[in-house]
């Protein structure tokens, strides 16, 4: 168990390093560079000043040197200053991360709260109208552009009914935490719907596969009620592949959060990355991308560990150790 986690952790660190190097290189290829930005904000700078600034900031050195310098500082916890927000990168990242985790966590819970019962019901009542309805819903779900779902929700709940705000976070407005909650409803709903189609399919096919196992036949032969067979025995077998999928889908969930946050102007990591990349905020973009990748890898890792704990068939030797 511990060895499995350790080797996966090592792999994750390597992936993170590779991603940081690749992003560092790519960000250098984005339009404009920091010195150009300084020049455009201060017309008195001459080209000699620019060359001197390049030297001071080390921009005349090769990319690998600059990357290693950045990495050294980053390992010390220094990610530099955000150009757009005028504060250290960490101070800009933490509130955004907090908001995104709330959004993603609630959306994942909501999606599973719908997908688990509906998917199980579809599998148990296979080939009935319930199954067909669930499969159709899943099919439409995976074929719908996620940002369009968000727009439809805005049209329905903000434009037509006027029940909920079309975007923003409610920060800086009057009202307690309850007033802030209404700004969460549509983003959470839209992110949950974006993943729902996939989850429905996974739960349904995992349940169908589990119900075909021999130990389920044994449970039925013992004379257990169908309810106990499904909820007591098959459910656990179904949760294993579903947990694995949630781990793999963590990156997709993050991508979905980026779209949702952009549509609803919700101040999370996705929107931060979008603004930082388009606003030439190199330090912030780099750190935010790495944090996003890091969290996705941690999500994958957590799912792997949960899987090993849930499923006794996965490496029993390492489990005993």
């Amino acid at each position: 168990m511990i060895r499995l986690a350790a080797s996966r952790l090592l792999q994750s660190v390597l992936v993170l390093l590779a991603v940081s190097f690749a992003t560092y290189g790519l960000i250098g290829l984005m339009p404009g560079d920091p010195i150009d930005l300084m020049i455009s904000s201060d017309p008195r700078l001459t080209s000699e000043d620019a060359a001197r600034l390049r030297e001071i900031h080390g921009l005349d050195r090769p990319m690998v040197d600059r990357y290693l310098a950045w990495l050294g500082a980053a390992l010390d916890g220094d990610f530099g200053y955000s150009r757009l927000q005028g504060r250290p990168v960490w101070d800009a990242l933490l509130p955004a991360l907090h908001n995104t985790l709330i959004l993603m966590g609630l959306a994942l819970l909501l999606a599973l709260a719908i997908a688990l019962p509906a998917g199980i019901l579809a599998a148990v009542r296979r080939h009935t109208w319930i199954d067909q309805a669930v499969s159709l819903a899943a099919f439409v779900g995976i074929s719908t552009p996620p940002f369009w779902t968000a727009l439809l929700l805005i049209i329905l709940f903000a434009v037509l009914f006027g029940w909920l705000p079309a975007g923003g976070s409610g920060a800086g407005e009057a009202g307690g935490p309850l007033a802030r909650v209404q700004f969460l409803v549509l983003p959470v709903l839209s992110l949950a719907l974006a993943g729902l189609g996939g989850y429905l399919r996974y739960v349904r096919s995992a349940m169908i596969e589990t119900l075909g196992q021999e130990w389920i036949r044994t449970a039925r032969a013992k004379g257990l009620s169908e309810r106990r067979v499904v909820l007591g025995h098959a459910l656990r077998g179904t949760l294993i592949p579903v947990t694995a999928i949630i781990g793999v889908e963590f990156g997709t969930l993050f991508s979905g959060a980026l779209v949702t946050e952009t549509v609803f102007a919700y101040p999370g990591m996705g929107r931060l990355i979008y603004d930082a990349v388009l606003g030439n905020d190199f330090n912030l973009a780099l750190a935010a991308l790495l944090l996003a990748t890091g969290f996705t890898l941690v999500g994958n890792l957590a799912a792997d560990v949960a899987l090993a704990l849930l499923d006794p068939r996965i490496s029993p030797a390492s489990r005993a150790g």
Partner: protein, 300 residues
């Protein structure tokens, strides 16, 4: 028409799925409408970019079947013109993804060992990463810094080429998985072993014995990938990183529609429906093809 070749038999099996046939029909119809969009515009007597400020947000009428937008442009014609860009990108990126995926899957499946492990790790890693944030960085790159001439880098064609490259860089994984699985299976078939025993070289075995037998797997995977690729393009264009105005695409029509959502919500309905229909069509056609081309693996 009668025939008995394998593709004819597949077509007969494909025809048994009404939804797949309907999906194929819809795709052909959409492609034809998008391809002839300028012609249709002339027939309707409107231009895609013709601005008519006295006729903004007009409700549907015989002259403008879906009404007009904030500049008085005909919504239907803009929608069809948007389809041109979206479908072109979808088709090109699906083909490019299929090419990359086939190469990777073939190499991983046939040579196995370390190469296989490396390539499959790469595929897994691509799936596990937060794709969209990384795609945004790629989409924001300055093509001039990659050595492209400025006038070439700024042309609309280059914009389309760029989005095709970006989307296919991430779209090939499904194809690679399917091709690898099929290659692993084919590698041990007796006709491959016989060819090798007769002294056929690796390249010959791959080109003559394995590749033709992968055709159905590649066709199915490409159709299914096309749906994903069209979704991805629409997301990037919606975020302003794909095809950018004035060239309309289904994604960037929706960016515009969000700003006008309080005035004219219907503008946000049509492009989304087009994307939804196209992706659904790709997916049902893909499912139909899978059952038609691989009757053994098909389940009801």
């Amino acid at each position: 028409m009668t025939g008995s070749g394998p593709w004819w038999l597949a077509w007969r099996r494909f025809r048994r799925h009404p939804s797949a046939v309907a999906g194929l029909g819809l795709l052909l119809l959409l492609s034809a409408a998008a391809a002839t969009a300028p012609l249709l515009a002339t027939l309707l007597g409107v231009e895609a970019d013709a601005v008519d400020l006295f006729n903004r947000f007009a409700p549907p009428s015989t002259a403008h079947p879906l009404g007009t937008d904030e500049l008085g442009r005909d919504v239907l014609v803009r929608l069809l013109a948007g389809g041109r860009a979206s479908l072109t990108v979808g088709l090109a990126a699906a083909l490019a993804s299929a090419a990359i995926g086939t190469l990777v899957g073939l190499a991983a499946g046939y040579f196995g060992g370390r190469l296989d492990a490396l390539l499959m790790r790469l595929t897994d890693a691509l799936l596990a990463l937060p794709l969209l944030p990384l795609l945004i960085v790629l989409a924001a790159l300055d093509p001039g810094k990659l050595g492209l001439a400025a006038d070439l880098a700024g042309s609309p064609l280059a914009a389309i080429g760029r989005i095709v490259v970006i989307v296919s860089l991430f779209g090939w994984t499904t194809v690679a998985r399917l091709v690898r699985a099929q290659t692993l299976h084919l590698r041990q078939e007796t006709f491959v072993l016989a060819a090798r025993a007769q002294g056929a070289g690796t390249l010959r075995i791959l080109a003559v014995h394995i590749l033709p037998n992968l055709a159905s797997a590649v066709v199915v995977a490409t159709t299914l990938a096309a749906g994903n690729v069209i979704l991805l393009e629409s997301v990037l264009s919606f975020l302003g990183l794909g095809i950018s105005p004035p060239t309309p695409s289904w994604g960037n029509l929706l960016t515009n529609a969000q700003e006008l959502i309080w005035i004219s919500p219907m503008l946000a309905i049509w492009p989304g429906l087009m994307i939804l229909f196209t992706v659904v069509a790709c997916n049902v056609v893909g499912d139909g093809l899978r059952e038609a081309l691989d009757p053994r693996g098909a389940t009801g």
